[in-house]
Symmetry: C2
Subunit: 348 residues, 2 copies
DNA sequence: TTAGGCTGGTTAAACGTTTTTCTTCCTTTG
DNA sequence: CAAAGGAAGAAAAACGTTTAACCAGCCTAA
C-alpha cells in the first residue's frame, strides 16, 4: 500500500492540510511543525501522489511529444532539446512515434488529451493544417513545419530556403553545370517543397537552364536516396552535383555510388540536408545544410511553457537560420571538379 | 472547461454511475439507455479523464522508460520495440534520458514513482544492483544488463559472450596474430567486462599469447574509440585486428584510421558490437556483433506486462543470443590480410 | 478594554472518476 | 398470492490531494 499524506499526518500529529502547506509552500507554517512534518515525510519515505494533485489543480506538468521516428537522429536531437529544459521546469513527457502516419497522430493526440497533458510538442506532423488548428485549444507547438498560429498554437522551424540557396551557389562556385535534386514528399511536407524550390530557384536565377536540372521525388529515407541515385546513374547524361533533401537520403545515395564505383566527390558531388551528427562519419564526410535541432527543441519548450503559463504576447513564430556546412563530399581538393563534366561534354 | 461525466449525465438524463457503466462495461445497462448515453458522449465529444480514473483505480496504464541516450540508435531501437507492443495494450510511456548519470537515474525513478507509473523499463542502468533491487516493489524490468531478479524485477539481455567468441575465432580464421580490444567501462558496466573477457578468453584458449593482446578501456562513445585508436597506432608494434566493444566506438576508430591513412581492412581489421543500423553505412561497412534490440524491447514490455497483471510464474530472466555479422571491415577479398603483420615482423 | 488584524493551524469541500450499496420494479415460483 | 430473486438504475462513498473557509490565540491600537 502506497503511503499517503494521511500517514504523514498521523505520524507527525498534525492535519493533512498542514502537510500540504509545507509541501506546496502556499501558506506559512511554523518552523517546529515544519520540522516535524519534514521528519515524518523522510521517515516514511513519502512521495506526493501526482495523480491526486493533478486532479485537484487541473494541471499535470506533463507534456506530450509527437515525433515521426525517434530512431531518426534528427528527431531524437529535437526531443533531447525539449527534454533538457523541460526537466529543469519539472516537466515530464509522454512520447509517441507516428511513423508519419496521420491516423497514428490522431490517436496519439487523443491519448495525450485523455492524459490531461498541459501541452503538446508536435514534431513534423503530417496532419493537415485545419485539423492541427483544431488542436489549438491546448498549448501546442509544432516544430519543423511552417503553420500559422491561431489559438494557443506556436511554431518553431528553420528557414529551409536560405541554406538551399547557399548550397546552389556553392555548387556553382566549384564549377558544376548539371544538377539533380532528390526531393522529399513535396505534396504533403511543406519543407520538402521549400528545399526543392530554394535549390532550383537559385540555380535558375543564376542562369542555369531548366534542362540542366533534373528532379526526383521520394520519401526522406535511406532506401529512396539509394534508389533515386541508382535511377539517376542510369541516365545517359549524368548530373555532377546532386542535392539529396535529407542526410539520410544522402547516405543512401553514397551507398549506391560506392556500389557503382562512382567516386564522391571526384565524379559526382553530393550534399544533404539536416546535418545529423552521423553525417561527419560517413565516407566521404557529407556536405550538408545545418538546421538547428537541439536548439529548436529548447525553443519549442520555452514557447510551450509560456503558452501554458498564460504569458501574454508570446512570440508564436520562431524561425531559425540554416547554413551550409561544406565537407568532403562536395569538394575535391586535389583537382578541379570539372573532369566529369568535360568528359560528358565530349561524349554527349 | 473540459467536459466531464456529469455533463454527459445531464444531457442524457441519467446518473453518472450509469455513464461509467456504459464506458467500462462492468455492469450491464439497458440498450436504449446505452444508446442515449453513447449519443450524448459523441455529441459532447466527451473524453474520460484518465487522471481521475487512475486515482480511483490505482492504475495508470502508464510506464516509465529510462534510457541512457535516446540519440543513440541502439537505445532508440529498444524503445521502439517497447512502444510497438505497449501501444497495442493501450499503454503510454514517459521517457527519460539519463546520460548514464546515476544521479539522474535516481531522480527520474522518483519522478516516475510520483507519476504512479504501473511499471518501469530500465535500459542499461548504471545504478548498482542493490539500489536497483530496492526498486523492485514496482514491476521493473532491466534491459541490456545482467541482474538477478527478486521481487517484481525482470531482466532481458543478450548473451554477450558467444558473439565475442565468434569474433575472436573469425579473426583467427582470417589469419590475424596480434589483437587489440578496446573495452567499455569494465568497472561499472557488466557487459563491458563480458565482452572483453569473451573476446580475450577465446583468443587465449586458442593459444594466443598474452602479450599479443593489448587492451584499452574507455567509454562507449565515438571520442574514446577515436582516441584509443590513435593511442594504439602510436605503438611500435601495431595489432592487426581490433575489437571495439561498441559500434559507436568503432566509428571513432574508423575515423581515426582514415585520418592516419591506415587502410581498413587491408592494414587493420576492425569490428564493433551492437549492429546498429548505421553500421552498414560507414565505410567500410562494419563487421559487428548483432544484439537484438527491437525484439529486446518487445520482450521487455511483455515481461513487464505480465509482472503488472500479476501473472504467476513469469519467466523473469530472458537472454537472447548475439551473433557475428561479417562485413567489409574485417575481410579483404583481394589479398590476404597478413601483409602488415609481415611488415611489422620485418621492422620490429 | 475591546475591536481588529495577524499567525498558525484545522475542517471540510472539491477535483472526475469507479464501485459498493441501495432502491424500484418486474418476474418467477411454491 | 406472497415471497424471493433478478435486472436496471440511482445515491453515495471513496481515491489522495489542494484550498477555501473557519477558528483560536495573541498582539496592537483605539
Amino acid at each position: 500500500m502506497a503511503i499517503t499524506i494521511k500517514d504523514v499526518a498521523k505520524v507527525s500529529g498534525v492535519s493533512i492540510a498542514t502537510i500540504s502547506n509545507v509541501i506546496t509552500r502556499k501558506k506559512h507554517v511554523g518552523p517546529e511543525v515544519t520540522q516535524k512534518v519534514m521528519q515524518a515525510m523522510r521517515k516514511l519515505n513519502y512521495r506526493p501522489n501526482m495523480i491526486a494533485r493533478s486532479l485537484k489543480v487541473k494541471k499535470t506538468n506533463n507534456i506530450g511529444i509527437l515525433a515521426p521516428d525517434i530512431g531518426n537522429p534528427f528527431f531524437a536531437e529535437i526531443v533531447k532539446g525539449v527534454e533538457s529544459v523541460a526537466k529543469k521546469k519539472g516537466c515530464q513527457f509522454f512520447l509517441s512515434n507516428t511513423n508519419g502516419d496521420v491516423e497514428v497522430e490522431r490517436s496519439a493526440l487523443a491519448a495525450f488529451e485523455s492524459q490531461n497533458v498541459d501541452g503538446i510538442i508536435n514534431i513534423a506532423p503530417r496532419m493537415e493544417d485545419g485539423e492541427l488548428h483544431a488542436c489549438a485549444a491546448l498549448p501546442h507547438v509544432v516544430v519543423d513545419r511552417p503553420i500559422d498560429t491561431p489559438g494557443l498554437m506556436g511554431c518553431v522551424r528553420s528557414n529551409n530556403l536560405t541554406g538551399c540557396q547557399q548550397l546552389a551557389r556553392h555548387f556553382l562556385e566549384v564549377g558544376h553545370t548539371r544538377f539533380a535534386c532528390m526531393a522529399g514528399p513535396v505534396e504533403t511536407v511543406p519543407n520538402a517543397r521549400t528545399r526543392l524550390d530554394g535549390f532550383c530557384g537559385e540555380l535558375r536565377r543564376a542562369g542555369v537552364a531548366k534542362r540542366d536540372i533534373v528532379v526526383y521525388v521520394g520519401e526522406f529515407c535511406f532506401e529512396d536516396g539509394y534508389s533515386l541515385m541508382k535511377k539517376m546513374l542510369a541516365r545517359k547524361s549524368v548530373p555532377t552535383a546532386v542535392f539529396l533533401c535529407s542526410d539520410i537520403m544522402a547516405w543512401g545515395a553514397l551507398e549506391c555510388a560506392r556500389e557503382k564505383g562512382v567516386c564522391i566527390p571526384q565524379d559526382i558531388a553530393i550534399a544533404g540536408f539536416d546535418n545529423v551528427y552521423f553525417s561527419t562519419l560517413v565516407s566521404p564526410a557529407l556536405t550538408t545544410i545545418d538546421a538547428p535541432k537541439f536548439k529548436a527543441g529548447v525553443i519549442a519548450f520555452d514557447m510551450l511553457h509560456d503558452l501554458m503559463s498564460g504569458v501574454k504576447q508570446v512570440e508564436r513564430q520562431v524561425v531559425m537560420e540554416t547554413r551550409l556546412v561544406v565537407r568532403a563530399s562536395t569538394i575535391f581538393l586535389r583537382s578541379p571538379v570539372k573532369r566529369l563534366n568535360e568528359e560528358i561534354r565530349k561524349i554527349g
